[in-house]
Amino acid sequence: MFLSVGVRFEANVEALNMVETAGNYTKHRRVPYLVEEDGKLKTVYVPAISGESLAHAYQWSLVKEALGMNLPVCEDCAKGEFFKSMNKAHLKKKIDPIPDDSKKIEATIIKSCVIEDVGGFLYAEKPPVRRSSAFQVSYALPIKSMALFATAEPQLHARHAQMDAKGKKGNVSEQMIYYVETGTALYGFTFNLDLDAIGVSSLGAGPIVPEEEIRARREASLKALFRMLSSAQFGAKLSRFFPVGGITELTVVVTEHPFVVTSPIYDSYIERTKKRLEVIKEAFREEYFFDSTNEVPEEVLRKAIEYLKEKGYV
Protein backbone atom coordinates (compact mmCIF):
# COMPACT_ATOMS: atom_id res chain seq x y z
CA MET A 1 0.00 0.00 0.00
CA PHE A 2 1.14 3.49 -0.86
CA LEU A 3 -0.04 6.63 0.92
CA SER A 4 0.25 10.05 -0.67
CA VAL A 5 -0.71 13.30 1.01
CA GLY A 6 -1.04 16.79 -0.44
CA VAL A 7 -0.97 19.58 2.12
CA ARG A 8 -1.72 23.25 1.79
CA PHE A 9 -0.98 25.47 4.73
CA GLU A 10 -0.99 29.18 5.35
CA ALA A 11 2.02 30.52 7.20
CA ASN A 12 2.34 34.19 7.99
CA VAL A 13 5.52 35.75 9.35
CA GLU A 14 7.34 32.44 9.71
CA ALA A 15 11.04 31.64 9.95
CA LEU A 16 10.67 27.90 9.39
CA ASN A 17 13.77 27.49 7.25
CA MET A 18 16.71 29.84 7.67
CA VAL A 19 19.76 29.29 5.49
CA GLU A 20 22.64 31.46 6.60
CA THR A 21 23.63 34.23 8.92
CA ALA A 22 25.73 37.07 7.56
CA GLY A 23 26.67 39.50 10.33
CA ASN A 24 23.38 40.38 12.00
CA TYR A 25 21.20 39.24 9.09
CA THR A 26 19.54 35.79 9.03
CA LYS A 27 18.13 34.80 5.66
CA HIS A 28 15.10 32.72 4.84
CA ARG A 29 15.46 29.94 2.26
CA ARG A 30 14.38 31.17 -1.17
CA VAL A 31 14.04 29.33 -4.45
CA PRO A 32 13.51 30.36 -8.07
CA TYR A 33 9.99 29.70 -9.23
CA LEU A 34 8.41 29.81 -12.66
CA VAL A 35 5.19 31.78 -12.88
CA GLU A 36 3.11 32.86 -15.84
CA GLU A 37 2.25 36.49 -16.19
CA ASP A 38 0.47 37.99 -19.20
CA GLY A 39 1.08 34.78 -21.14
CA LYS A 40 4.83 34.86 -20.47
CA LEU A 41 6.86 32.74 -18.10
CA LYS A 42 9.09 34.51 -15.63
CA THR A 43 11.31 33.57 -12.72
CA VAL A 44 10.50 34.92 -9.29
CA TYR A 45 12.19 34.14 -5.98
CA VAL A 46 9.86 32.89 -3.30
CA PRO A 47 10.26 31.77 0.33
CA ALA A 48 10.51 27.98 0.66
CA ILE A 49 10.89 25.25 3.27
CA SER A 50 13.19 22.38 2.35
CA GLY A 51 12.20 18.74 2.22
CA GLU A 52 15.11 18.06 4.59
CA SER A 53 13.51 20.31 7.17
CA LEU A 54 10.13 18.57 6.86
CA ALA A 55 11.77 15.12 6.84
CA HIS A 56 13.64 15.90 10.05
CA ALA A 57 10.38 16.92 11.74
CA TYR A 58 8.66 13.76 10.50
CA GLN A 59 11.45 11.52 11.78
CA TRP A 60 11.44 13.28 15.14
CA SER A 61 7.68 12.64 15.39
CA LEU A 62 8.35 9.03 14.44
CA VAL A 63 10.88 8.70 17.29
CA LYS A 64 8.23 9.69 19.80
CA GLU A 65 5.51 7.49 18.31
CA ALA A 66 7.82 4.48 18.05
CA LEU A 67 9.05 4.82 21.63
CA GLY A 68 5.44 5.27 22.78
CA MET A 69 4.58 1.93 21.12
CA ASN A 70 7.65 0.17 22.59
CA LEU A 71 9.23 -0.18 19.16
CA PRO A 72 13.04 -0.12 18.87
CA VAL A 73 14.80 3.20 18.25
CA CYS A 74 18.59 3.40 18.31
CA GLU A 75 20.53 5.60 20.71
CA ASP A 76 21.43 8.28 18.11
CA CYS A 77 17.94 8.57 16.61
CA ALA A 78 16.34 8.70 20.07
CA LYS A 79 18.27 11.96 20.59
CA GLY A 80 17.07 13.38 17.26
CA GLU A 81 20.56 12.97 15.79
CA PHE A 82 19.87 11.08 12.61
CA PHE A 83 23.37 9.81 11.81
CA LYS A 84 21.76 6.68 10.34
CA SER A 85 24.60 4.21 11.01
CA MET A 86 26.74 6.26 8.64
CA ASN A 87 30.11 4.81 9.69
CA LYS A 88 31.79 2.16 11.82
CA ALA A 89 31.65 4.28 14.98
CA HIS A 90 27.86 4.57 14.77
CA LEU A 91 27.16 1.05 13.48
CA LYS A 92 29.27 -0.51 16.26
CA LYS A 93 26.64 0.71 18.72
CA LYS A 94 24.28 -1.78 17.04
CA ILE A 95 26.61 -4.66 16.16
CA ASP A 96 30.23 -5.38 17.09
CA PRO A 97 32.17 -6.84 15.30
CA ILE A 98 30.66 -5.52 12.08
CA PRO A 99 29.94 -8.36 9.62
CA ASP A 100 31.16 -8.38 5.99
CA ASP A 101 27.74 -9.33 4.64
CA SER A 102 25.67 -6.32 3.56
CA LYS A 103 22.38 -8.23 4.10
CA LYS A 104 23.36 -8.91 7.72
CA ILE A 105 24.26 -5.25 8.23
CA GLU A 106 20.92 -4.11 6.78
CA ALA A 107 18.97 -6.64 8.90
CA THR A 108 20.74 -5.54 12.08
CA ILE A 109 20.01 -1.87 11.45
CA ILE A 110 16.35 -2.49 10.55
CA LYS A 111 15.79 -4.67 13.61
CA SER A 112 17.33 -2.14 15.97
CA CYS A 113 15.84 1.11 14.67
CA VAL A 114 12.42 2.03 13.25
CA ILE A 115 13.69 5.43 12.13
CA GLU A 116 16.39 3.92 9.91
CA ASP A 117 13.92 1.32 8.68
CA VAL A 118 11.40 4.00 7.60
CA GLY A 119 13.78 6.88 6.88
CA GLY A 120 16.54 4.89 5.18
CA PHE A 121 20.29 5.01 5.85
CA LEU A 122 23.70 4.93 4.20
CA TYR A 123 26.50 2.97 5.82
CA ALA A 124 29.43 4.48 3.92
CA GLU A 125 32.16 1.99 4.81
CA LYS A 126 33.12 -1.43 3.47
CA PRO A 127 30.83 -2.99 2.37
CA PRO A 128 28.67 0.09 1.70
CA VAL A 129 25.01 -0.51 2.51
CA ARG A 130 22.28 1.84 1.38
CA ARG A 131 18.57 1.75 2.11
CA SER A 132 16.18 4.20 0.42
CA SER A 133 13.74 6.04 2.63
CA ALA A 134 10.21 4.58 2.67
CA PHE A 135 8.87 8.12 2.89
CA GLN A 136 9.36 10.98 0.46
CA VAL A 137 8.71 14.65 1.01
CA SER A 138 8.86 17.64 -1.32
CA TYR A 139 9.92 21.19 -0.60
CA ALA A 140 7.06 23.34 0.67
CA LEU A 141 6.53 26.04 -1.97
CA PRO A 142 4.02 28.85 -2.40
CA ILE A 143 1.04 27.75 -4.48
CA LYS A 144 1.26 28.87 -8.11
CA SER A 145 -1.73 31.20 -8.24
CA MET A 146 -0.52 33.17 -5.23
CA ALA A 147 3.24 32.93 -5.66
CA LEU A 148 3.52 36.58 -6.62
CA PHE A 149 1.97 37.56 -3.28
CA ALA A 150 4.47 35.52 -1.27
CA THR A 151 7.05 37.62 0.52
CA ALA A 152 10.28 37.27 2.43
CA GLU A 153 10.78 40.33 4.57
CA PRO A 154 13.39 41.12 7.22
CA GLN A 155 12.08 42.04 10.65
CA LEU A 156 14.21 44.16 12.93
CA HIS A 157 14.77 42.97 16.49
CA ALA A 158 16.99 44.23 19.29
CA ARG A 159 18.63 42.62 22.25
CA HIS A 160 19.75 44.65 25.16
CA ALA A 161 22.29 44.01 27.89
CA GLN A 162 23.04 46.39 30.71
CA MET A 163 26.77 46.80 31.14
CA ASP A 164 28.91 49.33 32.90
CA ALA A 165 31.85 51.06 31.25
CA LYS A 166 34.37 48.59 32.78
CA GLY A 167 32.53 45.59 31.38
CA LYS A 168 32.52 46.97 27.87
CA LYS A 169 34.92 45.38 25.40
CA GLY A 170 35.91 47.10 22.17
CA ASN A 171 32.98 48.43 20.24
CA VAL A 172 30.42 46.14 21.87
CA SER A 173 27.19 48.02 22.21
CA GLU A 174 24.61 47.69 24.94
CA GLN A 175 21.98 47.39 22.27
CA MET A 176 22.47 45.02 19.35
CA ILE A 177 20.08 45.03 16.43
CA TYR A 178 19.52 42.01 14.23
CA TYR A 179 17.32 41.11 11.31
CA VAL A 180 15.38 37.90 10.82
CA GLU A 181 13.96 37.40 7.36
CA THR A 182 10.41 36.08 7.66
CA GLY A 183 8.35 34.42 4.97
CA THR A 184 4.64 34.70 4.29
CA ALA A 185 2.85 32.44 1.83
CA LEU A 186 0.22 29.82 1.22
CA TYR A 187 2.49 26.77 0.92
CA GLY A 188 1.91 23.37 -0.59
CA PHE A 189 3.88 20.16 -0.23
CA THR A 190 3.57 16.45 -0.95
CA PHE A 191 4.35 13.57 1.39
CA ASN A 192 4.47 9.92 0.28
CA LEU A 193 4.83 6.78 2.36
CA ASP A 194 5.49 3.34 0.89
CA LEU A 195 4.03 1.06 3.55
CA ASP A 196 5.25 -2.08 1.76
CA ALA A 197 8.88 -1.03 2.26
CA ILE A 198 8.67 -0.94 6.07
CA GLY A 199 10.33 -3.83 7.89
CA VAL A 200 11.33 -5.47 4.61
CA SER A 201 14.86 -5.82 3.23
CA SER A 202 15.71 -3.61 0.26
CA LEU A 203 18.42 -6.15 -0.72
CA GLY A 204 15.94 -8.92 -1.46
CA ALA A 205 16.14 -10.71 1.90
CA GLY A 206 12.36 -10.48 2.54
CA PRO A 207 10.74 -9.40 5.82
CA ILE A 208 13.28 -8.64 8.54
CA VAL A 209 10.94 -8.33 11.52
CA PRO A 210 7.78 -10.35 12.36
CA GLU A 211 4.54 -9.44 10.54
CA GLU A 212 2.96 -8.14 13.75
CA GLU A 213 5.83 -5.74 14.32
CA ILE A 214 5.75 -4.61 10.67
CA ARG A 215 2.09 -3.62 11.18
CA ALA A 216 3.00 -1.77 14.38
CA ARG A 217 5.81 0.06 12.54
CA ARG A 218 3.39 1.08 9.78
CA GLU A 219 0.97 2.38 12.38
CA ALA A 220 3.74 4.39 14.08
CA SER A 221 4.69 5.87 10.68
CA LEU A 222 1.11 6.99 10.03
CA LYS A 223 0.67 8.36 13.54
CA ALA A 224 3.91 10.32 13.18
CA LEU A 225 2.60 12.02 10.04
CA PHE A 226 -0.72 12.72 11.75
CA ARG A 227 1.05 14.22 14.77
CA MET A 228 3.52 16.27 12.73
CA LEU A 229 0.78 17.89 10.65
CA SER A 230 -1.68 18.29 13.48
CA SER A 231 0.81 19.89 15.85
CA ALA A 232 2.59 21.97 13.17
CA GLN A 233 5.87 20.92 14.77
CA PHE A 234 8.00 21.29 11.67
CA GLY A 235 10.64 23.80 10.67
CA ALA A 236 12.81 26.00 12.85
CA LYS A 237 12.46 29.05 15.10
CA LEU A 238 9.06 27.95 16.38
CA SER A 239 9.83 29.41 19.80
CA ARG A 240 9.55 32.99 18.56
CA PHE A 241 8.27 32.74 14.98
CA PHE A 242 5.56 30.12 15.26
CA PRO A 243 3.74 30.63 11.95
CA VAL A 244 0.39 32.35 12.09
CA GLY A 245 -2.05 30.26 10.11
CA GLY A 246 -2.53 26.53 9.69
CA ILE A 247 -3.55 23.77 7.31
CA THR A 248 -6.09 25.05 4.81
CA GLU A 249 -6.50 21.89 2.72
CA LEU A 250 -5.39 18.30 2.93
CA THR A 251 -5.81 15.46 0.46
CA VAL A 252 -5.01 11.82 1.21
CA VAL A 253 -4.85 8.95 -1.26
CA VAL A 254 -4.10 5.31 -0.44
CA THR A 255 -3.45 3.01 -3.38
CA GLU A 256 -2.17 -0.52 -3.82
CA HIS A 257 0.79 0.64 -5.89
CA PRO A 258 2.73 3.93 -5.91
CA PHE A 259 0.52 6.87 -6.85
CA VAL A 260 1.30 10.48 -5.99
CA VAL A 261 -1.35 13.17 -5.52
CA THR A 262 -1.19 16.03 -8.00
CA SER A 263 0.97 18.69 -6.39
CA PRO A 264 -1.02 21.04 -4.17
CA ILE A 265 0.78 24.02 -5.71
CA TYR A 266 -1.84 23.79 -8.52
CA ASP A 267 -5.34 25.10 -7.82
CA SER A 268 -7.04 22.15 -9.52
CA TYR A 269 -4.98 19.50 -7.72
CA ILE A 270 -7.94 17.83 -5.98
CA GLU A 271 -9.98 17.41 -9.19
CA ARG A 272 -6.93 16.28 -11.15
CA THR A 273 -6.02 13.73 -8.48
CA LYS A 274 -9.58 12.33 -8.58
CA LYS A 275 -9.56 12.07 -12.38
CA ARG A 276 -6.19 10.32 -12.39
CA LEU A 277 -7.43 7.86 -9.76
CA GLU A 278 -10.51 7.05 -11.83
CA VAL A 279 -8.35 6.26 -14.86
CA ILE A 280 -6.13 3.99 -12.80
CA LYS A 281 -9.19 2.26 -11.33
CA GLU A 282 -10.53 1.55 -14.81
CA ALA A 283 -7.20 0.57 -16.33
CA PHE A 284 -5.87 -1.65 -13.53
CA ARG A 285 -9.02 -2.45 -11.54
CA GLU A 286 -7.43 -1.30 -8.34
CA GLU A 287 -9.23 -0.06 -5.26
CA TYR A 288 -8.20 3.17 -3.68
CA PHE A 289 -8.96 5.49 -0.78
CA PHE A 290 -9.42 9.18 -1.45
CA ASP A 291 -10.48 11.98 0.84
CA SER A 292 -9.94 15.70 0.94
CA THR A 293 -10.95 18.54 3.21
CA ASN A 294 -10.55 22.19 3.84
CA GLU A 295 -12.14 21.93 7.27
CA VAL A 296 -10.70 19.37 9.71
CA PRO A 297 -7.53 17.78 8.31
CA GLU A 298 -7.23 15.39 11.27
CA GLU A 299 -10.52 13.78 10.20
CA VAL A 300 -9.11 12.89 6.77
CA LEU A 301 -5.97 11.39 8.30
CA ARG A 302 -8.05 9.39 10.77
CA LYS A 303 -10.18 7.96 7.95
CA ALA A 304 -7.06 6.95 6.01
CA ILE A 305 -5.67 5.09 9.03
CA GLU A 306 -9.05 3.36 9.54
CA TYR A 307 -9.07 2.30 5.87
CA LEU A 308 -5.61 0.76 6.28
CA LYS A 309 -6.74 -0.99 9.48
CA GLU A 310 -9.73 -2.47 7.63
CA LYS A 311 -7.34 -3.76 4.99
CA GLY A 312 -5.26 -5.40 7.71
CA TYR A 313 -2.26 -3.23 6.92
CA VAL A 314 -1.86 -1.76 10.38
Binding site: E20, A22, G23, N24, K27, T43
Partner: protein, 111 residues
Protein backbone atom coordinates in the same frame (compact mmCIF):
# COMPACT_ATOMS: atom_id res chain seq x y z
CA UNK B 1 35.76 43.57 -18.39
CA UNK B 2 36.82 41.44 -15.46
CA UNK B 3 34.90 43.16 -12.65
CA UNK B 4 37.61 42.79 -9.97
CA UNK B 5 35.53 44.11 -7.07
CA UNK B 6 32.74 41.60 -7.69
CA UNK B 7 35.28 38.82 -8.18
CA UNK B 8 36.97 39.74 -4.88
CA UNK B 9 33.66 39.81 -3.02
CA UNK B 10 32.73 36.37 -4.37
CA UNK B 11 36.21 35.10 -3.53
CA UNK B 12 35.73 36.28 0.06
CA UNK B 13 32.56 34.18 0.33
CA UNK B 14 34.40 31.20 -1.16
CA UNK B 15 37.14 31.56 1.46
CA UNK B 16 34.51 31.46 4.21
CA UNK B 17 33.11 28.23 2.72
CA UNK B 18 30.02 29.87 1.24
CA UNK B 19 29.85 28.79 -2.43
CA UNK B 20 26.16 29.64 -2.81
CA UNK B 21 26.52 33.00 -4.55
CA UNK B 22 29.33 32.03 -6.95
CA UNK B 23 27.52 28.82 -7.92
CA UNK B 24 24.27 30.63 -8.59
CA UNK B 25 26.03 33.24 -10.73
CA UNK B 26 28.16 30.68 -12.57
CA UNK B 27 25.28 28.30 -13.28
CA UNK B 28 22.62 30.88 -14.17
CA UNK B 29 20.91 30.44 -17.52
CA UNK B 30 18.96 33.69 -17.43
CA UNK B 31 19.56 37.19 -16.12
CA UNK B 32 17.20 37.14 -13.10
CA UNK B 33 19.09 34.58 -10.98
CA UNK B 34 22.32 36.59 -11.43
CA UNK B 35 20.69 39.83 -10.33
CA UNK B 36 19.13 38.09 -7.30
CA UNK B 37 22.42 36.44 -6.33
CA UNK B 38 24.23 39.80 -6.57
CA UNK B 39 21.55 41.49 -4.46
CA UNK B 40 21.75 38.80 -1.77
CA UNK B 41 25.55 38.70 -1.84
CA UNK B 42 25.78 42.47 -1.42
CA UNK B 43 23.27 42.41 1.42
CA UNK B 44 25.20 39.70 3.23
CA UNK B 45 28.54 41.38 2.52
CA UNK B 46 27.28 44.69 3.95
CA UNK B 47 26.21 42.95 7.16
CA UNK B 48 29.56 41.22 7.48
CA UNK B 49 31.36 44.54 6.90
CA UNK B 50 29.42 46.19 9.70
CA UNK B 51 30.21 43.52 12.25
CA UNK B 52 33.82 42.85 11.11
CA UNK B 53 36.78 43.58 13.40
CA UNK B 54 39.38 46.21 12.47
CA UNK B 55 43.14 45.66 12.84
CA UNK B 56 45.82 48.26 13.62
CA UNK B 57 46.11 49.12 9.89
CA UNK B 58 42.35 49.69 9.63
CA UNK B 59 41.94 46.46 7.66
CA UNK B 60 38.61 44.77 8.24
CA UNK B 61 38.62 41.06 8.94
CA UNK B 62 36.61 38.18 10.31
CA UNK B 63 37.98 35.13 12.08
CA UNK B 64 37.27 31.60 10.93
CA UNK B 65 38.88 28.54 12.46
CA UNK B 66 41.42 30.79 14.19
CA UNK B 67 42.49 32.43 10.91
CA UNK B 68 41.95 36.03 9.88
CA UNK B 69 40.09 36.52 6.61
CA UNK B 70 40.33 40.09 5.35
CA UNK B 71 37.37 41.71 3.68
CA UNK B 72 37.80 43.30 0.24
CA UNK B 73 36.09 46.60 -0.46
CA UNK B 74 32.38 46.71 -1.15
CA UNK B 75 31.90 46.66 -4.94
CA UNK B 76 31.15 50.09 -6.35
CA UNK B 77 27.80 51.10 -7.74
CA UNK B 78 29.44 51.69 -11.13
CA UNK B 79 30.96 48.22 -11.33
CA UNK B 80 27.69 46.55 -10.29
CA UNK B 81 25.73 48.53 -12.88
CA UNK B 82 28.21 47.73 -15.66
CA UNK B 83 28.25 44.06 -14.67
CA UNK B 84 24.47 43.70 -14.62
CA UNK B 85 24.14 45.48 -17.97
CA UNK B 86 26.83 43.24 -19.44
CA UNK B 87 25.11 40.09 -18.14
CA UNK B 88 21.79 41.22 -19.57
CA UNK B 89 23.45 41.40 -22.99
CA UNK B 90 25.59 38.29 -22.68
CA UNK B 91 25.09 35.57 -20.05
CA UNK B 92 28.63 34.24 -20.52
CA UNK B 93 29.90 37.30 -18.59
CA UNK B 94 28.38 35.85 -15.40
CA UNK B 95 30.06 32.49 -15.91
CA UNK B 96 33.40 34.24 -16.55
CA UNK B 97 33.17 36.24 -13.31
CA UNK B 98 32.28 33.13 -11.31
CA UNK B 99 35.16 31.22 -12.89
CA UNK B 100 37.63 33.99 -12.04
CA UNK B 101 36.38 34.07 -8.45
CA UNK B 102 37.04 30.35 -8.12
CA UNK B 103 40.58 30.68 -9.50
CA UNK B 104 43.66 31.42 -7.39
CA UNK B 105 44.25 35.21 -7.30
CA UNK B 106 47.12 36.24 -9.57
CA UNK B 107 48.48 39.18 -7.57
CA UNK B 108 47.73 41.18 -4.51
CA UNK B 109 45.07 38.76 -3.38
CA UNK B 110 45.28 36.11 -0.72
CA UNK B 111 44.18 32.52 -0.54
Amino acid sequence: MDFPEIVNMLRFFIRTGNFGYVDRIGNALTYEPVEMAILEALRAFRSIHESAKTDENYGKYIEKDGKKIYLPRIPSEEEIRTFLNAVRKDMSVAKRVATLALAFPSKGGEE
